[in-house]
């Protein structure tokens, strides 16, 4: 690293990460934690597929299967896909807009630790009497009836990690609005920044309903409330509405940043400006907006009545239009370009047909009467894995290869990367394509086994074989990461050679203060513009001066730890455990104590002095 941060031992590296408020290190934390949860969710998926490989299988028990599928869905969505995307946002977005850091570095760290402890809490359920088993949607009648503490783990864990995500969202919004470098107008922001912006806005508005409904679930189960208790006047449909008022925007929270990553990749490796930039921006915003108007398409069979179903059906279909705009703009970005098939680009190219296939089944499901057939069958499972795996996960894999050099300063092997791609991609289609037909042929989802003689055997076997392919793919990615890290061959600031946006103008990995001088942005794709004028560096917008940096802090960790502890108390108090209430209170005291400590003790950060910056050799920061 730089001369300012010296070489350290292992313990101090750990301490550094526990207390860091640097967006780039937080990004790495997100990547590690999210990656870990992805593997966990993947293993759960493999167990699901093993169980369903043949009819009447008893590889896992019925109850355990329900826990597996619930934790698979919950882990993948909340603890893997979203944090991984937040990781990339943290790593890249501030660089793309030429900011020193995010607006609230402290809150950024707090967001991470809340997510982490929430996820940890949720997964501890495996060891403490059973995981949640009511599906990731946790519909109220079943989740109230579910015995043991599984659902309590779900409610408390998601509540804690949800706060973290919400903070992340607000943080990114403020960063983008307030911290752009001179000249970086809204309509010059890279698409990944735009999608981060819109996804963050969705987080801001979608998480509160989830918070409220989880709060109600928690109070129904743990403190005797009656929101969903029909016998006491409660109503279970409320849960369903809230879950989907949150849940549908949630899927766009996942896909929009994925779109952003692909937009960057398409234009980089086509060596071409993104086609129809302004309509891409418009489409992103429109998708975000429409995302809030369609949630009841998950509830067509609830019996809301024909008027509601018809309205939501038509609204749902409308989303095809802005999404289509994006697809065609990507195609036209490649058109006339000079396409280089690097690993990230291969993923991007493969994404288009995969995602379109998933998207169009989404529209088919939007046709309400047809959805009466599709709903809660493997057709739905096929749809959402096509959009999620074919969209989000491909983007995550592409982003991993694409941004790895920027984050770690080394290149993942292209050869192994292609191997990974091949197995993952083939496995993906093998697993999920056939599931459309399983669903149509009468296979409900969330079944722990199926009987022979219903025509479902072959399809399920094929699907399970595909899953094994995906497994091989992911293992090869891990191998790639290990090999690359061991080799540790450093690369320069623009390793792909065709970088267009600001992040490629800075060293890989960037110094902890990012740009030494804030760059002056003169148009879309600023780094490309400078390169086209024959310059290797960006024009600085300010003279070299002192840089103000925040201090690291252990407080975010402590605040989150307090909630983590309190959650155990809240959960076990219904078992009349004597220690539960003290633990609940103790945990809250830790949390609020740490918060009070933070607000009373001022922390003004420190300055890096101009002289130190000049002293450093010149390949750090903006090369000016």
């Amino acid at each position: 690293m730089s001369t300012i941060a010296q070489k350290r031992g292992f313990a101090s590296t750990v301490w550094d990460y526990l207390t860091t408020v640097d967006h780039k290190k937080i990004a790495i934390l997100y990547l590690i934690a999210g990656g870990f949860f992805f593997l966990l969710g993947g293993i759960e998926a493999m167990l699901i597929r093993i169980q369903l490989a043949v009819p009447n299988n008893d590889f896992v028990s019925a109850g355990f299967f329900n826990e597996l599928l619930t934790m698979h869905g919950t882990t993948m969505i909340f603890l893997a896909a979203m944090p991984l995307l937040l990781g990339f946002m943290n790593a890249i977005m501030p660089l793309q807009i030429g900011a020193r850091d995010v607006a609230f570095p402290f809150i950024n760290a707090l967001g991470f630790w809340l997510f982490f402890f929430g996820g940890l809490f949720l997964n501890l359920s495996w060891f403490l009497g059973g995981a949640p088993d009511a599906g990731w949607t946790s519909y109220a009648s079943l989740s109230l009836a579910s015995e043991g503490h599984g659902i309590d783990f779900y409610a408390l864990g998601l509540q804690i990690s949800g706060f973290g995500t919400l903070m992340g969202g607000i943080n990114f919004l403020v960063t983008i609005i307030n911290m752009r470098a001179p000249g970086m107008t809204y309509m010059r922001m890279p698409l990944f920044t735009w999608t981060t912006f819109v996804a963050s806005a969705l987080i801001l508005f979608a998480f509160p309903p989830l918070t409220v409904s989880i709060f109600m679930l928690m109070f129904d189960r743990l403190f005797g409330a009656n929101f969903f208790n029909v016998a006491a006047g409660g109503n279970t449909i409320i849960w369903e509405h809230f879950f989907w008022i949150f849940g549908h925007p949630e899927v766009y929270i996942l896909i929009l940043p994925a779109f952003g990553i692909f937009s960057e990749i398409f234009s980089t490796f086509s060596r071409k400006r993104l086609f129809g930039y302004s309509s891409m921006v418009f489409a992103t915003v429109l998708i975000g907006f429409l995302g809030f108007m369609v949630w009841a398409h998950h509830m067509f069979t609830v019996g809301l009545g024909p008027v509601a179903n018809a309205i939501f059906a038509v609204a749902t279909m409308a989303i095809a239009v802005p999404t289509g705009i994006k697809i065609f703009n990507w195609l036209l970005t490649m058109w006339g370009g000079s396409i280089q098939f690097t690993v990230p680009m291969i993923y991007a190219v493969a994404f288009i047909p995969s995602f379109v296939a998933g998207g169009v089944t989404g529209i088919m499901q939007g046709a309400a009467p047809a959805d009466y057939q599709y709903h809660d069958t493997y057709f739905i499972v096929a749809h959402f894995h096509y959009v999620i795996v074919g969209g989000v996960v491909l983007a995550l894999l592409a982003g991993t290869h694409f941004y790895w050099p920027k984050m770690f300063g080394t290149m993942l092997s292209e050869k192994i990367g292609k191997f990974t791609f091949f197995f993952f991609f083939v496995g993906f289609h093998l697993t999920f394509f056939i599931q459309h037909f399983l669903g149509l042929m009468g296979m409900p989802r969330r079944v722990w086994t199926f009987l022979p003689g219903q025509g479902l055997d072959t399809g399920n076997l094929v699907s399970s074989i595909g899953a094994a392919f995906m497994f091989v793919g992911i293992v090869s990615l891990l191998v790639n990461i290990v090999i690359t890290s061991v080799k540790n061959e450093k690369v320069g600031n623009d390793p792909w050679g065709d970088g267009r946006t600001l992040e490629w103008a800075i060293a890989s990995p960037p110094p902890f203060y990012n740009f030494k001088q804030l760059p002056l942005v003169r148009g879309l794709d600023p780094y490309w513009l400078e390169k086209m004028e024959g310059k290797q560096t960006l024009t600085p917008a300010e003279p070299i001066g002192d840089i103000h940096m925040p201090n690291g802090s252990f407080v975010p960790f402590v605040i989150s730890l307090g909630l983590f502890i309190a959650a155990f108390g809240a959960m076990y108090q219904i078992d009349d455990k004597a220690w539960a209430i003290p633990v609940l209170i103790g945990g809250l005291v830790i949390t609020f104590g740490a918060m009070a400590y933070r607000s009373i003790k001022d922390d003004h950060g420190f300055h890096i002095h101009k002289e130190d910056l000049i002293d450093e050799n010149d390949d750090k920061g903006v090369k000016a």
Binding site: F275, G303, A310, Y372, Q373, L440, R446
Partner: protein, 361 residues
């Protein structure tokens, strides 16, 4: 390489599609072999939307394939800088308007069908003087892993096997008694949830000819996760011609309690009355309120297609079931609610239960 892969995939799409549409999937279960008006409407909508979607996919694929083959970076072009195009208004308009048109084509039948399928006005028409409505109404009550079907106008109840007439609208009132389930007969039409909060209503029809092809027995499923045995919460739909159905109803209405003739069955009846009758009724005219009806009505048990929805219908399986229901349906509500039974008692119970029939056979 890439483009061959795509073409190959596309071809296989069609191959699989035709395969499926030519009758892959079992006629008693598959939504692709519609056996009634509702399923047919939904199937038509599915086909219409699939055709539109395939058109979309083809359009995208064509552009896609051309783009990635024609514009790949070739040897000697390493330094080529393509023209930096900003966009094109004409193209933007085209790919906004065409999808809108396609969606309109889909939206119109969607909305029409939504209203048509939700039309249950017939149910609310006044009953005639015998309290019987013109429309045939069935109350469906879903409970943890079993189904109850009540014919309210005829005051009879059956469980697990739904009996319906062909070529006639059958109206359903749906509700759940513990947690949410969902009532689905794929071949006859889409599902509707059985909520715990309210009664949901819809209708289905069963085409006589299609029924015959399916052996007059359709499979029904629970389509909402409801606990460990959600996967096993199956039921069967037996279709009868309208005349046969009337006869069946009649038989149900007049059915007398079975008095077993052979001694084993008679012993079985005694055991049953001791251990089982508190939950299970053996008469189709069970007048108890629904909260008291804790278990499937066994009046027609001897005529069932399956035991507990999933097991083969024979004495061996029946004894297995009674011996340890937990093994066959984890989490069911019958386990451990009655005393241990020895083999002899099991035989007697089985004999008794198998003799429970309404129609003489």
């Amino acid at each position: 390489m890439k483009d061959r892969l795509t073409k190959w995939r596309l071809l296989s799409v069609f191959a699989v599609l035709t395969l499926v549409l030519s009758g892959c999937g079992e006629p008693f279960l598959s939504a692709l072999t519609p056996a009634g008006e509702v399923a047919q409407i939904q199937y038509d909508l599915m086909i219409l939307s699939t055709v539109i979607m395939i058109a979309v996919i083809i359009a995208v694929t064509v552009i896609f394939v051309i783009a990635i083959t024609r514009f790949r970076r070739k040897k000697g072009e390493e330094n080529k800088i393509p023209k930096q195009v900003e966009g094109s208004h004409l193209l933007e308009i085209i790919w906004t308007v065409i999808p809108i048109i396609l969606l309109l084509i889909l939206a119109v039948p969607t909305v029409t069908a939504t209203f048509h399928l939700a039309d249950v006005k017939e149910m609310d028409k006044k009953p005639n003087k015998d309290g019987v409505r013109d429309a045939l109404v069935v109350n469906v009550r879903a409970s943890l892993y079993w189904w109850e079907f009540e014919y309210p106008d005829y005051k009879v109840i059956t469980s697990q096997d739904l009996v319906v007439p062909t070529d006639q609208k059958v109206y359903f009132n749906l509700i759940a008694s513990d947690v949410k389930h969902s009532f689905w007969i794929p071949a006859a039409g889409g599902k509707l949830d059985t909520n715990t909060d309210n009664v949901n209503k819809f209708w289905l029809t069963f085409d006589s000819q299609k029924s015959e092809e399916a052996g007059n027995l359709f499979y029904g499923k629970c389509a909402e996760l409801c606990g460990p045995s959600h996967a096993l919460m199956d039921f069967k739909v037996e279709t009868k011609s309208q005349d046969d159905f009337k006869q069946w109803l009649n038989a149900m209405q007049t059915a007398k309690e079975v008095t077993p003739t052979d001694t084993a069955a008679a012993e079985g009846q005694k055991i049953f009355e001791q251990s089982c009758l508190s939950c299970h009724a053996v008469s189709p005219q069970d007048a108890r309120p629904e909260q008291a009806r804790l278990a499937p009505n066994l009046a027609t048990f001897g005529e069932r297609a399956r035991i507990a929805g999933v097991l083969e219908h024979n004495e061996e399986e029946l004894k297995n079931w009674i011996r340890d229901p937990e093994k066959y349906k984890p989490g069911n509500k019958m386990t451990n609610t009655y005393k241990q039974l020895n083999e002899q008692e099991l035989d007697q119970l089985a004999a008794y239960l198998m003799s429970l029939k309404v129609e003489d056979k």
